[in-house]
Symmetry: C2
Subunit: 150 residues, 2 copies
């Protein structure tokens, strides 16, 4: 049995637990119409990284998505086949590639993202302006503390 944690640690864990549940609920809510993009969750997620973090190598993309290189290799092949991303040679390393979203890729992603945002915004509309401001602040804080090393 682990030793009893300090009250501060316990409090922090309660906060973490609540945020964790909230994040799960949030993504469950927003992904409801994702199939209208015509893309599977894995492809949609990979495409969004290419759009927002690209140009990016297949290897870095695999690490970002927490999957192995072979898995990403066939997701990228599918995205390329559907003309959603393009492969460019790496100028300095002939083994490497750079992936960039095509115009179509950006468009498909953006439409899906807008649907998600709208679904979420509809729920947030039920809150008071102060509560909405509080959530805006919370989002900022979270991004700041999660982005760096993750």
């Amino acid at each position: 049995m682990a030793p009893k944690a300090s009250p501060e640690v316990e409090r922090l864990h309660r906060v973490a637990d609540q945020l964790h549940s909230a994040a799960i609920a949030l993504l469950r809510t927003v992904r409801r119409d994702d199939d209208r993009t015509g893309l599977s969750p894995a492809r949609l997620s990979a495409l969004s990284v290419v759009v927002f973090a690209g140009p990016i190598s297949p290897g870095d993309l695999a690490r970002a998505e927490q999957v192995t290189a072979p898995t990403m290799s066939h997701i990228v092949a599918a995205l390329e086949r559907e003309d959603l991303v393009a492969r460019l040679p790496d100028a300095e390393d002939r083994r490497a590639q750079r992936l960039e979203a095509t115009e179509k890729g950006r468009q498909v992603l953006e439409e899906g993202r807008q649907r998600r945002i709208r679904l979420l915004a509809d729920r947030l509309a039920a809150l008071t302006p102060e509560d909405q401001r509080l959530l805006a602040e919370a989002g900022e804080l979270l991004l700041r503390v999660l982005r760096p090393r993750s």
Copy 2:
């Protein structure tokens, strides 16, 4: 082209966008060691619903996980094979079943959950107590506004 949205709607969409990104970043962070549960994401997620919302029927579980009944059927079969959930007959409907987590199922899930919570709490520890309180409040608000109809 869609008509220009009102400033309030635009603000709400910005908040939604930020929360959406934060939720994605949060779950990317916490799931890093999930493989130590020995369960795939699909099974782990289904098990967590059984633990927290059980007893539950396979059909309701499929709806909660946003997958089809056949898909859930074989996830449940796997969870049962590994003695993580048990099937009980439904007293009032002999077609139906009720799924309950076993002691082992609860334990496996709880250990994984604790790992996730710790990963997140570690990040939150970098924030001031006021910011931590703000996040606690935000988590509460979000759960309140997302739980109902989703």
